[in-house]
């Protein structure tokens, strides 16, 4: 009974998340097109420009010393050589940034859509289904693909940036690895699920 509630909660949450991301993606696309169409003046970096965090390696600037809280339980410091790069939307690198943002959103939508379908198809009466195995494998591939895209983005963005900025010390700050780990975990679940399906079939054909 409790598991039924959890499943219903997950089903509703994923659906809500999917539709929020869908609406956000459509709004973002419309706003981006409007921004590119309305921004004829090149070099005018308005608030609608894209912003990226980059780190400049090799400048040998040292981090500032730590500042401690009153009870000395928390400390913080300003990180050296970290910059925010703002891109003009109607430039080559701006178009690239827009395309990459749309790719990430599309990927997010496909992942959430697959999760939505999995939770919709899951039932306690017949938990093992071939369609769910296929969707789990697709999800694993999508998570791994997201990391591959992040890596490609890292190299492409740096290459575009080095065209615009003479210094080649700026490198995009990105986190790679989470997608691969999540993908592999889902792949393991898919393999175990597939074995469960085989056992269920075997059980059904045992008289």
């Amino acid at each position: 009974m409790r598991s039924t509630y959890i499943l219903s909660f997950l089903r509703i949450s994923v659906s809500v998340l999917f539709y929020i991301l869908l609406v956000f993606s459509v709004l973002f696309l419309v706003a981006s097109i409007a921004s590119i169409a309305g921004n004829d003046k090149a070099g005018d970096l308005t608030k609608k420009s894209y912003s990226y965090r980059v780190k400049a390696f090799g400048l040998q600037n040292t981090n500032e010393p730590f500042t401690y809280s009153q009870d000395s339980m928390v400390k913080y410091q300003k990180v050296a050589d970290e910059y925010s790069v703002v891109l003009e939307p109607s430039s080559t690198i701006g178009y690239y940034a827009l395309i990459m943002k749309l790719v990430y959103m599309a990927l997010g939508l496909v992942i959430l859509w697959n999760f939505k379908k999995i939770f919709k198809e899951t039932s306690f009466r017949q938990p093992f289904k071939n369609t769910i195995i296929k969707r789990l494998r697709t999800l694993a591939a999508l998570f791994i693909l997201s990391d591959v895209i992040k890596l490609l983005d890292y190299f492409l963005f740096n290459s575009y940036l080095h065209h615009s900025i003479a210094s080649t010390k700026f490198q995009l700050l990105t986190d790679v690895g989470n997608g691969v780990i999540t993908g592999l975990v889902i792949l393991v679940i898919a393999v175990i699920y597939e074995r469960g399906k085989e056992l269920e079939e075997e059980n059904a054909l045992t008289v």
Binding site: E201, E202, L205, T206, V207
Partner: protein
């Protein structure tokens, strides 16, 4: 599969219908049909015991091992 189920032969000899046997053995008609058509992957000893008891036969009368000819399948 090299295990052949000869349940239909024994049933014909004993002149017993599938539904009657299912009722006497106390298994579902669909499960008995799975066994009869050779689709079953396993049979419980308890089911085999009841079938043998109702049909008054030996397990070997129902199940038969036939060696697969590999060259014919290639």
């Amino acid at each position: 599969m090299p295990i052949i189920v000869n349940l239909d032969v024994i049933m014909a000899r004993r002149k017993i219908s599938l539904s009657e046997l299912a009722e006497k053995v106390d298994i579902t008609l669909s499960n008995l049909s799975i066994l009869k058509t050779g689709k079953a992957k396993a049979i419980r000893f308890s089911t085999l015991e009841k079938i043998c008891e109702v049909l008054d036969c030996q397990p070997a009368d129902i199940l038969e091992f036939v060696k697969e000819n590999k060259s014919s399948s290639e």
